[in-house]
C-alpha cells in the first residue's frame, strides 16, 4: 500500500526525448491509467517506475522511499506484461511461486498464497500445467496471479489485455476492475485503448510525445478536455472538429462555409477576445441530432448524409456540412438515406472551443 510520486521525470535515449517533465502524484490504493498513442512515453514511464529503464533526470518515490537507484527487485512492485512473460520451463504453480521463492518465503506460506491467488482467479486446475498448454486468457490470468501472490506495494500493468481477442478483453477488463476493488493496491496501468482507460481508471493520464496532456477522472476528461488532442483522443467515435471564425455581431457567432452557430452567452465572455480570429470548434457526435420544428435556427445547420452506420443501439451518420465532415450519433429509430439532405441541431451548451495555435481549450 503506497503512493507513487514522480517529480520532473525525464527520459532521453540517444536522440529521442521520450518522457518530458512528468509530474504525477498517484495516491495510495488508486488505479491510474496512462493512455496515449504509441510512442507517447507511457510505457517508458512505467518501466522507469519498475526500474527497467534508467531515469535520465527527476525523481520517483514509492511509499516514502526514493527508488531512483534501487534495482527492480527491491522496489516491492509487481508487473504484468503484454506478452504475459510466463517462464516457459516452469509449471503454473512454479511461475506464481517464483517471486516468493526468490524472497525466501517458507514453503507453507508460498503454497497458501499461490492457492489463494489461484482461487481468486479461478485457475486452481491449471497449477500443474506448463504455460504452453494454456490459452491466451488463461496465460493472462496466471500472469496476474504471479503479480498478486507477492502482495506488492504497487501493481504495474503494461498493456496486459492487448494480446487477447475483443470479447475476452472486455471480460478480463471487468475482472481486473473487480480485482482492484478487492485487493485495494495502488496500480499503474498502461494502454493505448481509451475505452480501457476510461473504464478502469480512477484517474486517467493522457500522454502525447512525452508530455502529460491532462490528468483527471474519466468523465472530467470527457466533458472538459484540456486541449484538442485530449478531446479527439477520448471518446469513440471521436469528437468532430470544425475550423471556424468568431464573428461579433452583437452576439458571438462561430462561422464557416455551411456552418453557423450562435455561441451561448456564458461561453461568449471568454471567446470575445477571439473575435475576427479562427478557432477550432469541437462537437461530440452525441451532441448532434436531427432538428425538429421547435429548434431555433441559431443552433441548426444543413447537411447531407454521406454514410449511414447502423450499430443497433444507435446509428452513426457521417455527414457533410459545406466542406466540413462530421459524425452524428442519432437514435436507432431515425430513417435517413445516403445523399439525403437533413437539418442537424446541436447542443450549444456542450460545444468545445480550442485555440487554433496552442490547441488549448478556451
Amino acid at each position: 500500500m503506497a503512493q507513487v510520486l514522480m517529480k520532473d521525470l525525464n527520459k532521453k535515449y540517444d536522440e529521442v526525448h521520450a518522457v518530458k517533465d512528468v509530474n504525477l502524484h498517484i495516491r495510495d490504493k488508486e488505479f491510474v491509467v496512462l493512455v496515449g498513442p504509441s510512442g507517447c512515453g507511457k510505457s517508458t514511464t512505467l518501466r522507469m517506475v519498475a526500474g527497467l529503464e534508467e531515469i535520465t533526470s527527476g525523481e520517483i518515490s514509492i511509499g516514502e522511499r526514493v527508488v531512483n537507484d534501487l534495482p527492480p527487485k527491491d522496489r516491492d512492485i509487481a508487473m504484468v506484461f503484454q506478452n504475459y512473460a510466463l517462464y516457459p520451463h516452469m509449471t503454473v504453480y512454479d511461475n506464481m511461486a517464483f517471486g516468493l521463492k526468490m524472497r525466501k518465503f517458507p514453503k507453507a506460506e508460498i503454497a497458501k498464497r499461490v492457492h489463494e491467488a489461484a482461487e481468486i482467479l479461478g485457475i486452481q486446475e491449471l497449477l500443474k500445467r506448463k504455460p504452453r498448454q494454456l490459452s491466451g486468457g488463461q496465460r493472462q490470468r496466471v500472469a496476474v496471479g504471479r503479480a498478486i501472490v507477492r502482495h506488492p506495494q504497487v501493481f504495474l500493468f503494461d498493456e496486459p489485455l492487448s494480446n487477447l481477442d475483443a470479447k475476452l478483453r472486455v471480460q478480463m477488463r471487468v475482472e481486473l476492475k473487480r480485482l482492484h476493488d478487492r485487493l485495494e493496491t495502488t496500480a499503474i496501468y498502461v494502454t493505448h485503448d481509451q475505452v480501457e482507460a476510461m473504464t478502469l481508471g480512477d484517474r486517467v493520464v493522457v500522454m502525447k510525445d512525452g508530455w502529460v496532456q491532462q490528468v483527471g477522472e474519466p468523465l472530467e476528461l470527457y466533458s472538459k478536455p484540456a486541449n484538442r488532442f485530449v478531446a479527439g483522443f477520448i471518446g469513440s467515435p471521436a469528437m468532430n472538429f470544425i475550423e471556424a471564425g468568431i464573428k461579433d455581431g452583437g452576439a458571438l457567432w462561430a462561422e464557416t462555409a455551411g456552418f453557423r452557430v450562435k455561441i451561448p452567452p456564458d461561453r461568449a465572455e471568454r471567446l470575445k477576445s477571439y473575435a475576427g480570429q479562427p478557432v477550432t470548434v469541437g462537437i461530440r457526435p452525441e451532441d448532434l441530432r436531427l432538428a425538429t420544428g421547435g429548434d431555433s435556427s441559431d443552433h441548426t445547420f444543413d447537411a447531407v448524409v454521406d454514410v449511414v452506420e447502423p450499430l443497433g443501439s444507435e446509428i452513426l451518420l457521417d455527414v457533410k456540412a459545406g466542406s466540413n465532415t462530421m459524425v452524428a450519433r442519432v437514435e436507432p429509430t431515425v430513417r435517413v438515406k445516403v445523399h439525403e439532405p437533413i437539418r442537424l441541431a446541436l447542443n450549444a451548451e456542450r460545444l468545445h472551443f480550442f485555440d487554433k495555435k496552442s490547441e488549448a481549450a478556451i
Binding site: 527497467l52 534495482p71 527487485k73 508487473m79 506484461f81 503484454q82 512473460a85 517462464y87 516457459p88
Partner: protein, 283 residues
Amino acid sequence: MVIERRWKKWVFFYIPLTVFVVGTLFPFYWMFVTAIRPDSELYRSWRAVNNAPFWTLHPTLEHFQDLMAKTTFPVWLWNTFFIAVVSTLISLFCGLLAGYALARLKFPMAGTLGTSIFVTYLVPPTLLFIPLADIIRNFQLGNTPWALILTYPTFLVPFCTWLLMGYFKTIPKELEECARIDGATRFGAMVRIIFPIAVPGILSAGIFAFTLSWNEFIYALVFLSSPERKTVPVGVVSELIRGDIYFWGQLMAGALLGSIPVALVYSFFVEYYVTGLTGSVKG
C-alpha cells in the same frame, strides 16, 4: 497429369535424394567393410578370382585387436576426448557470458564487437597456426594437451558466442525483466530463467564445439609430436601410414572408432539440436 507429377517427383526428389544418401553413406560403409576385411582380401588384385570389393565373406576383428594392442589408440582416444571436453567447456562458458552480454546489455560498441567476434571466426586456422605456434612455444606448452585446449577456443569461442547470441535474442526480454521484478538480480535472472530456456541452444553450441575439436587436425598435427600425446585424427594418420605403406585395415578401424562418439552425441541430442538452430519456444 498424375503421371507427369509422378515422373517429376522421381526426377526432382527421389533420384537426387538417393544419390545424396548413397554419396553420404558410402564412405562410412567402405570404412566399415575395410575395417573388418582380412588382410588377405585387402591386398589382392582387383582382377583376382572371387574378388568381392564391396563386401566380405570372412569378417574379422583382427584390425581392431591390432589397433588396440600394437598402437596407442586407446590413449589417443582418451587424449581427444579430454581435449575436446575441456575446450568445449571453456568455450561454452565464455560463449554463454559473451553471447548474453552482446544480446542483452547496452554498452558502447556492442554491435561492432559482435561483428568483430564473428570476423575472428573467419580467420583460417591454416594462417593462425603460425603465430599460435610461436605463442605455444613461448609458454612452453608444446606437446601438452594444453596446447590444444587453449588454442581451440580461438575458433570455438567466436562460434559459440555467435550461435548463443542469436538464440538469446529469440527469448523475449520481458521474461528476464519479470524475473528481475520478481526478486532476482540480473545474474540470477540469467541463470534461473534465460539459461534453462536456452538449453537447446547451449546443447547445439556444445555439440558443435565438441565435434569441431574432436575432428580438428592442423593444430593437433603442429602442436603435438610424441605418439602418446596425439589425438585420434592425427595419430591414425601419422602412425598407421609408414612411408608409403598404408595399414588400411587399422586405419579404417581407427577412423570408425573415432567417429562413433561424435555420432552418438549427435543422435542423442538430435531433437534439441534442431530446436537449437531454429529458435526458442514461444512464451
